[in-house]
C-alpha cells in the first residue's frame, strides 16, 4: 500500500501554475528568420492565432511532470507490501518460570504454548532471545524445536532479574513469560510486544532469601543467620532445617504471614564442618528452587616452620577459618629462621638472628602499608634482629633507619619481618594477634579476621504471582509488512525526463 512520509511537500505542487505562466509568457524558444511571416500567419492551428500564441508552450506539461515527480520524491513515498512473517520471541526464563504447576514447569508450559502458537499461525522461523541474557539467541526452525528446552535450561540462581533495553524490533515481537516481574508491563509497552504468551497461575511461595555465617573469635564458633520470606498472598507454615554436611543441626517450624520475613540465628562449633545448608521442608510450594541455600566455608591453610614461639602457635590455632598445614599444601608459610626460607608459596619470614637491638625512635609506616598503618607500635615493644643481609622489597615499617618490615611482591609474596616475636613486650601486648593477622591478610591479600560468608536468593525473583500483560495491538498489523522506499526510483524517473528534455533542447538548438 503506498504512503507518504512527508506529505506536506505536496503543497509545493501549488507552484505548477508558475511553470505554465513561464511557458506562456516568456521567451518562446529558437528564433528563425524567414522571407515573410505571411506564410505562417493565421494558419488554422488553434494556438497560432494572431501575432502571439494564446496557449503556453506544450513543453510546459513535460516540465510540470518533472517538477511533480521531484515533489513526490521529496515526500518520501513508500510502498508497504506483505513480507514473510518472522517473529522475535523474548523468552522469560527467570527463577519464577521454574515454578512447577500441574507437574510441569512454567518454562515447559511456555515452550508448548509457543510452539503451538507458531504452528497455528504458520510461522516457520522465529528468533528466540533470552529475556535475562539478550546476547543469547536461538534461530528456531521446525527442525530444532526440540532443542529449545535444553537451550533454556540455565541454572536459576544464575539468572538476573534485570530486563534488557526495550528496543523495538522491525519484526513482530512476542513475549513468553509468567508476568511475575513487576517491571515487565512497562518493558513490554516500550518493546512494542505484539503478543504475550503467558503461563502460570500459582501465587504462593516461601523462599530462603539469605544464609550468612560469621566467625566469632571470642566464642570460637560460627554464628549463622537464615532469612525466610513468604512471597505469597496467604499465611503459611514451613519447616526449616539447618544442616551441617548431612547432619541436622537445627529444625524449626515457622509461621509466616503474607510478605513477612523472619530471621533465624544458629551457632556452629568452630572447625566442625565445611558445608552448611538451610532447607525448607513440607509443605512444598510451586517453586522449590528457592527452598534451599548452601554455604561452603573455605578454610585457609597456613604452615608454621621454625621456632616461632608459643604465642604464635596459640594465635594460629585460635583464628577461625585457619587450618595448620604443611608448607607444600599451605597458602601461606610463616617461617621463623635466620636465613630466607626456601618455600614455593607466599611466605612471612620472621628473623631469628641472635643479635638484637632496641628501637629508640618511634617507628613509622610506609605509604604502601595499607591498613597496617592503623597499628600503633611503641619503641619499647620492639626489638630488632640485626641481619647480615639487607632487606629485600619495599619497606613497610621503618625505625632508626632500619627497615623493620619489608614486602616483596614478585616472584612470590615475601614479607620480611625483623621484629623479635619472642619478646614479651610484644607478644603479651593485645596488639600482637592483630599485628600477626594483619601480616597474614597483607601477604594473602584476603580478609581473615572478620570474614562473613553469605549466599542469598533475590527476593523479587521468588515472586510467582502472575500479572496479566496487555499487548500493543498496533504492532501486530505492521510487524510483518515490508516497507520499500520509492524515492530513488522516482528520482531516477525525474532524471530520465530531465535528460530527454535536455536532448530535445539540444536537438532544437542544432
Amino acid at each position: 500500500m503506498p504512503g507518504l512520509e512527508s506529505p506536506l511537500w505536496l503543497f509545493a505542487l501549488l507552484g505548477i501554475p508558475l511553470v505554465w505562466w513561464i511557458h506562456r509568457f516568456n521567451n518562446r524558444g529558437v528564433e528563425l528568420s524567414v522571407s515573410t511571416i505571411l506564410l505562417w500567419k493565421n494558419i488554422s492551428q488553434p494556438e497560432n492565432k494572431g501575432h502571439r500564441l494564446t496557449t503556453a508552450d506544450p513543453l510546459w506539461r513535460q516540465r510540470a511532470i518533472i517538477i511533480t515527480v521531484l515533489v513526490f520524491a521529496l515526500t518520501a513515498p513508500t510502498l508497504d507490501a506483505p513480507s514473510s512473517r518472522r517473529v522475535n520471541v523474548w523468552f522469560d526464563h527467570s527463577l519464577s518460570m521454574h515454578a512447577i504447576e500441574q507437574n510441569q514447569m512454567r518454562i515447559e508450559q511456555g515452550i508448548q504454548k509457543l510452539l503451538s502458537k507458531l504452528e497455528s499461525e504458520e510461522i516457520t522461523e522465529a528468533t528466540i532471545r533470552s529475556l535475562q541474557d539478550p546476547s543469547r539467541t536461538l534461530q528456531l526452525t521446525p527442525q530444532n524445536r526440540a532443542t529449545l528446552k535444553r537451550w533454556l535450561s540455565t541454572s536459576p540462581q544464575a539468572i538476573s532479574n534485570s530486563l534488557p533495553s526495550p528496543t523495538p524490533s522491525e519484526h513482530e515481537t512476542w513475549l513468553v513469560t509468567d508476568g511475575a516481574n513487576n517491571k515487565l508491563q512497562d518493558w513490554a509497552d516500550k518493546a512494542r510486544i505484539a503478543q504475550v504468551i503467558q503461563v502460570g497461575s500459582a501465587t504462593e511461595n516461601t523462599t530462603i532469601t539469605r544464609l550468612s555465617i560469621r566467625p566469632s573469635v571470642a566464642q570460637t564458633s560460627f554464628t549463622g543467620v537464615v532469612s525466610i520470606a513468604n512471597q505469597g498472598n496467604k499465611a503459611t507454615t514451613r519447616k526449616l532445617q539447618i544442616h551441617i554436611e548431612e547432619k541436622i543441626l537445627d529444625e524449626q517450624t515457622l509461621s509466616l504471614q503474607p510478605s513477612e520475613t523472619q530471621h533465624h540465628t544458629f551457632t556452629i562449633p568452630y572447625n566442625s564442618a565445611n558445608l552448611i545448608s538451610a532447607r525448607l521442608l513440607e509443605p512444598k510450594d510451586a517453586l522449590t528452587n528457592d527452598d534451599h541455600l548452601s554455604l561452603s566455608i573455605k578454610e585457609t591453610k597456613i604452615a608454621l616452620t621454625g621456632n616461632c614461639g608459643k604465642p604464635m602457635q596459640a594465635l594460629l590455632k585460635a583464628l577461625p577459618g585457619i587450618r595448620l598445614s604443611t608448607p607444600t599444601s599451605a597458602a601461606l608459610t610463616i617461617a621463623c629462621a635466620n636465613k630466607q626460607p626456601s618455600v614455593a608459596g607466599d611466605t612471612i619470614w620472621f628473623h631469628t638472628e641472635d643479635k638484637t637491638q632496641q628501637i629508640n625512635q618511634l617507628p613509622y609506616w610506609g605509604l604502601s602499608a595499607g591498613q597496617l598503618n592503623q597499628l600503633n607500635l611503641q619503641p619499647a615493644q620492639l626489638l630488632v634482629h640485626i641481619a647480615q643481609t639487607p632487606s629485600k622489597g619495599q619497606p613497610l615499617l621503618t625505625a632508626d633507619g632500619i627497615p623493620l618490615i619489608s614486602f616483596q611482591s614478585t616472584p612470590k609474596h615475601l614479607m620480611e619481618v625483623r621484629l623479635d616475636i619472642h619478646t614479651p613486650q610484644l607478644t603479651d601486648h593485645p596488639i600482637f594477634p592483630t599485628l600477626v593477622t594483619g601480616f597474614m591478610e597483607y601477604a594473602l591479600g584476603q580478609k581473615l579476621l572478620d570474614r562473613i560468608h553469605t549466599v542469598q536468593n533475590p527476593p523479587l525473583q521468588s515472586k510467582l504471582q502472575p500479572k496479566l500483560l496487555h499487548t500493543d495491538n498496533r504492532s501486530i498489523g505492521s510487524s510483518y509488512i515490508s516497507t520499500t522506499d520509492l524515492t530513488p526510483y522516482i528520482i531516477i524517473a525525474a532524471l530520465i525526463l530531465l535528460l530527454l528534455d535536455l536532448l530535445r533542447i539540444r536537438e532544437t538548438r542544432q
Binding site: 528564433e31 528568420s33 515573410t36 494558419i43 536537438e507
Partner: protein
C-alpha cells in the same frame, strides 16, 4: 565552368552556353527560322517603325499622334496604333535585393544574379540596350541603358558588387519607376513575397513599359522550417515577429499558402499580360530562361 561556380555565381555563366542560348532566344522570339546568317537580331516588337503591329487602348503618356481616330470612333475608346519596332529595344532589368533575397544560404540571390546576367547577355547580344536597377524599398543601384560588351561588362561589375540586404528594407517596386523609360521592356526579378505579391506595382509598370516580364525566384525551402516545436519567426524585411508551435500540419498549410500565392500571382500576370515564370533554387538559370523564353514564344 565548375570551378568558376565555386568562386562566384556569375562565373557559372559559361560564354558558350550563353551563345547557344542567344541563338535559341533569337529563334523563339522571332517566331520564324532565322534566314540571315550571323547573330543579327530580328526585331518583332512594338515600337518605332512603319510596319503596323496592332492597336492598344490609349493610356496616359501615349503620344497623341499615335491615336487611330477611326478605330477610336468605332470602339468609342481611344485606341492607338502600334508599329513593329524596327530598331533595337530598351530593356530594364529590375533586380530585387531586399533582405528576403539573402535567405536560402545565398542560393536564391545567386540564381537571381545569374538570371539577370544571362538575360542581359542575351538582350545585348540581340543588339538591345540593357539597363540594370537594383532595388529594395528604394533604388540601390543603377546601370543606365547601354549596348555592347562594355555595357555588359559594366553591368556584371554592378552585379558583382551588389549584395542583398541583410535585414530590413521592404520590396518596393514602384521605387524603380523614376528610372524606367516609357515604352521600354521591363524584367522584374524578385521573390514577390509581400502581402500583395507586388501586384499593384506590377500593374503600374505595365503602364510604363511596353512589355513586362516577371521572374519569381524562390528558395527550395521557402515555406519550410528546419524544425518543429515552438519557434519564434522573424520577418527579415519587416522585422515583425510571431511565435508559433510548428507542426507537420502547419508545415503543410504554409506550403499550400505559398503555392496559392504563386498561383494567384500567376493568374494576375496572365490577366495583365505579364510574362511570368516562377523558379526555385533547385532549377538552374538555363532551364529557367528557356522556360521563360518558351513562354514568350507561345504568347507571340
Amino acid at each position: 565552368m565548375g570551378t568558376a561556380a565555386v568562386t562566384h555565381p556569375l562565373r557559372a555563366l559559361d560564354q558558350a552556353e550563353l551563345m547557344r542560348l542567344a541563338r535559341v532566344a533569337d529563334r523563339l522570339l522571332s517566331g520564324r527560322p532565322k534566314i540571315i546568317p550571323g547573330n543579327r537580331p530580328h526585331k518583332l516588337r512594338a515600337g518605332h517603325g512603319i510596319e503596323f503591329l496592332d492597336h492598344r487602348t490609349f493610356m496616359p503618356g501615349d503620344n497623341l499622334r499615335d491615336i487611330d481616330w477611326r478605330i477610336t470612333a468605332r470602339s468609342r475608346h481611344p485606341q492607338i496604333r502600334r508599329f513593329r519596332n524596327e530598331t533595337s529595344s530598351d530593356w530594364f532589368i529590375c533586380l530585387d535585393r531586399s533582405a528576403s533575397m539573402s535567405l536560402g544560404n545565398g542560393r536564391k540571390w545567386a540564381l537571381a544574379m545569374q538570371l539577370a546576367a544571362a538575360l542581359a547577355y542575351l538582350l545585348i547580344h540581340l543588339d538591345n540596350r540593357v539597363g540594370l536597377i537594383t532595388f529594395s524599398d528604394r533604388i540601390d543601384g543603377v546601370k543606365p541603358l547601354g549596348r555592347g560588351h562594355h555595357a555588359y561588362a559594366s553591368l556584371l561589375r554592378l552585379l558583382e558588387s551588389t549584395h542583398p540586404r541583410t535585414h530590413g528594407g521592404n520590396t518596393l517596386l514602384t521605387s524603380c519607376a523614376s528610372q524606367l523609360q516609357r515604352g521600354s521592356q521591363i524584367i522584374v526579378i524578385s521573390d514577390f513575397l509581400t502581402a500583395d505579391s507586388l501586384q499593384p506595382e506590377l500593374k503600374l509598370l505595365t503602364r510604363i513599359g511596353e512589355d513586362l516580364h516577371a521572374i519569381q525566384v524562390l528558395d527550395k525551402h521557402e515555406a519550410e522550417l528546419p524544425q518543429t516545436g515552438t519557434l519564434s519567426l522573424r520577418d527579415i524585411e519587416t522585422d515583425e515577429k510571431i511565435s508559433i508551435h510548428h507542426t507537420a500540419e502547419g508545415q503543410t498549410q504554409a506550403t499550400q499558402k505559398l503555392e496559392a500565392t504563386i498561383k494567384d500571382l500567376q493568374q494576375f500576370c496572365k490577366k495583365q499580360q505579364i510574362a511570368f515564370t516562377s523558379c526555385t533554387t533547385v532549377d538552374d538559370w538555363k532551364s529557367t530562361l528557356l522556360e521563360h523564353l518558351g513562354l514568350l514564344n507561345a504568347r507571340s
